[in-house]
Symmetry: C2
Subunit: 455 residues, 2 copies
């Protein structure tokens, strides 16, 4: 019988993260100060992040060693399995060979702990006692709670009120790992009080929660802030995923022609694809890497490439990114992890340089795909993962139409155990496509006063 | 760095199930007809189960081959990892070496698919189109839904109303795999209608749900019934867990002195311990195997050994078991999988013969243990698993007091992703011990009119 899973031993966990900045033909433009709009250096980030993470943020070293302590904690769930999706291939009747890397085996249920652990670790090494963050649907908040608990640090999470009320199980999970979780907006920050004064019933937003977390972190030198995607060091940490997958594909005696991953801020996509893009840079391979984003939040396929803020309030440095505008409010799709207005700078530069591709799917299509996958392969995907699967199905069907066999690899970034309500709504016919008009996008972009970038 | 996980390759999935009946010094007494109270043969089970499962139920062959198709489906999540609990050891300050087998990596989140897959398979081979079952907390119902979906069979689940209403995510999971789930009692069976006529607001019970499922199965020759624990063939299928663990302990260069597993009907406990008990039978080893049960449902530690029914209504054959009486209604602890009045016949005989041990824990103790484990090791256990962990902690502390190092192995049978409300209640101080008085037990046992067994 053929192998369904390709598993690795613990000593095959990567020893280094791969830094794609070293290999990119065009490096990203520098971040700008939000006020002066002048380029800023790494020191500007020191109030929010520990020095080791800031160094990683700007490093152009190709390989960055993973500390032994981090590798030791990775062993709780890594290496993760790579699956050959025989049943999905059969259901689709495709000549394509489909593989997926399954990150849902982590105790928090997604790929997010890959960066939560090193972020907590570097903070601890610098003597930081407390980490604050924001979370939307709760994947990142749970991952950081999990990591801080293992490293015996305090963790506080500003959870968007609408998720806090609607997805209580994620909150309870964070509490079990000892984190404090607040329903944002709160009365404990200026930002929160201001919002509540204007609207006591504010449902909150990721932008507000980020502002609250940053405000708390900036007040106390023993407290730092952590972000779950977008930034270079976050993408860097996720490359353990793709490096394991390279090894596993080699063991399978195969190699991907197409790699697909969901896209929110970029860490999910970067984690799987960057270690393969290395083969494009180094060896002239022509692997196609496709980022799958929601049609309701299509920064890669319908946004503009210009400087923009990372948060909605405008507190962060200006970053050169594909964006829908920092005031863009995505519709309430169930894939909360993909509801972000902009793309990380590395991925944005790669897309601008046409070294990667992007594709958008509306919500119903992603749940059609997720349910098809769950029935074929047995694992219930997170709604975010459904976006990647929708692209996989398109590519597999194209192989069928064209009668060619491609090898497709995708990132099954998490399970859907905390998203069963979304599946229930899908079966009850309550989900909508959440299409987005050109007028809505133009209206959001028209508000931007941030620096443009010559195209 | 030492290995935290001991993993196996797919070709190391066991090729045979281990049948402990072959090695037991005293075989269990035969089942009796519920009416005539005369011993019955396997043919009496034919309306409910396919012949291959009935053969397994009574087989005394030591090794029973696992069909290739079943091993192929096991590959979706098997082999499961064995962990060394370094962090738990450190937190407890114990000289004991603690290992755990983690069955929560299955798509349904527990060990239950180990038997759901072969049960669905043997039914399908016999031409059965539909399988009906009951479920309490939902672990078994999800596992059978998962299995039937993979084998393209219809699955219908009678879910105890109080769980149907209180644990909707498990129901949604079953729906996602295509199963129909009913809130039991229903109006579609005699049994259900009778209950509803007496009490239209009945919260349901496992006993009622079993009666409903059996009634449906008995009516239609294309429909069979399936049970998630208690029966010999169910325990048999779970021995894949312990056989993998034997191999993994060998790879770790270690061997258990004490093995611990939660106890509901016996399949969880049997799965891990039987393949090790084989070493006691064959090689005179003296491994201690401890079944951990709830103090609110203490059939092993405070029940009697006599014939009793498997359901509350009295439709099933009479089985020689440790029981609290088939009318015993366990209190509403969160470990719904352990709320069963009786123990499977094999485990009962082993306990009677003092070849295994049992220990009871009250609910608060099990959540203290589960939270301690979650914080130390990172994985949030199912409430059922908390019972085993409570015993593990006792044994590890004893090692510390006595200054001796024992090797302890336990079954982390599932994750707690669908039980976060229980954790929330625990942290909010809402959980109670659920102690049980002698008078309550005596009152239940006094109602028994089933045949006694000479002690």
């Amino acid at each position: 019988m053929a192998n369904k899973k390709i598993t690795l031993q613990e000593n095959e966990i990567p020893t280094h993260w791969y830094n794609i900045l070293a290999d990119m033909p065009n490096k990203p433009l520098p971040p700008l100060h939000p006020g002066t709009k002048e380029p800023i250096g790494p020191e500007a980030l020191a109030p929010l992040f520990p020095m080791e993470l800031i160094k990683q943020e700007v490093s152009t070293e190709k390989w960055i060693a993973i500390p032994d302590e981090v590798r030791e904690l990775y062993k709780i769930w890594r290496p993760t399995p790579l699956y050959r999706a025989y049943n999905l291939e059969k259901v689709l009747g495709t000549p394509a060979k489909i593989y997926y890397k399954y990150e849902g085996v982590s105790p928090a249920g997604s790929h997010k702990p890959n960066t939560a652990i090193p972020q907590a670790y570097y903070n601890k090494m610098q003597g930081v006692k407390r980490i604050v963050t924001e979370t939307g649907a709760g994947q990142w908040g749970s991952a950081l709670s999990f990591a801080c608990n293992l490293l015996d640090m305090k963790c506080e999470v500003f959870m968007v009120k609408v998720s806090y009320d609607g997805k209580p199980y994620r909150k309870m999970m964070m509490n079990t790992w000892g984190a404090k979780v607040y329903s944002s907006p709160t009365t404990q920050t200026e930002a929160g009080r201001k919002i509540l004064a204007e609207d006591p019933n504010s449902p909150g937003s990721l932008g507000i929660a980020i502002s609250e977390a940053i405000e708390i972190a900036a007040q106390d030198e023993n407290t730092k802030y952590a972000l779950g995607s977008v930034l270079n060091h976050v993408l860097l940490h996720q490359t353990v995923v793709g490096q394991e997958a390279v090894l596993q594909m080699e063991k399978a005696g195969d190699f991907p022609d197409i790699i697909i991953a969901p896209f929110g801020g970029g860490s999910n996509f970067a984690g799987l694809t960057f270690p393969f893009l290395r083969f494009n840079f180094e060896k002239g391979k022509k692997i196609r890497c496709i980022a799958s984003e929601p049609a309701s939040c299509p920064k890669l396929t319908r946004g503009v490439f210009r400087y923009d803020f990372g948060d909605s309030v405008g507190m962060t440095p200006l970053l050169p990114m594909f964006t829908l505008g920092h005031n863009f409010v995505p519709q309430a799709i169930h894939a909360g992890g993909l509801r972000y207005h902009g793309a990380g700078v590395i991925v944005s530069q790669l897309l601008k340089d046409k070294l990667i591709e992007a594709r958008a799917h509306h919500q119903l299509e992603t749940f059609d795909a997720a349910v098809l996958f769950a029935k074929a392969e047995g694992i219930i995907p997170a709604p975010e993962a459904g976006h990647g699967i929708a692209t996989v199905i398109q590519e597999a069907k194209r192989c069928k139409e064209e009668g060619i066999s491609k090898t497709i690899l995708f990132n099954l970034c998490g399970h859907g155990h905390f998203d069963m309500q979304a599946y229930d709504d899908y079966f009850a016919g309550k989900l909508t496509r959440h299409d987005l008009s050109d007028a809505d996008i133009q209206a959001s972009l028209a508000k931007l006063t941030t620096p443009t970038i010559p195209q």
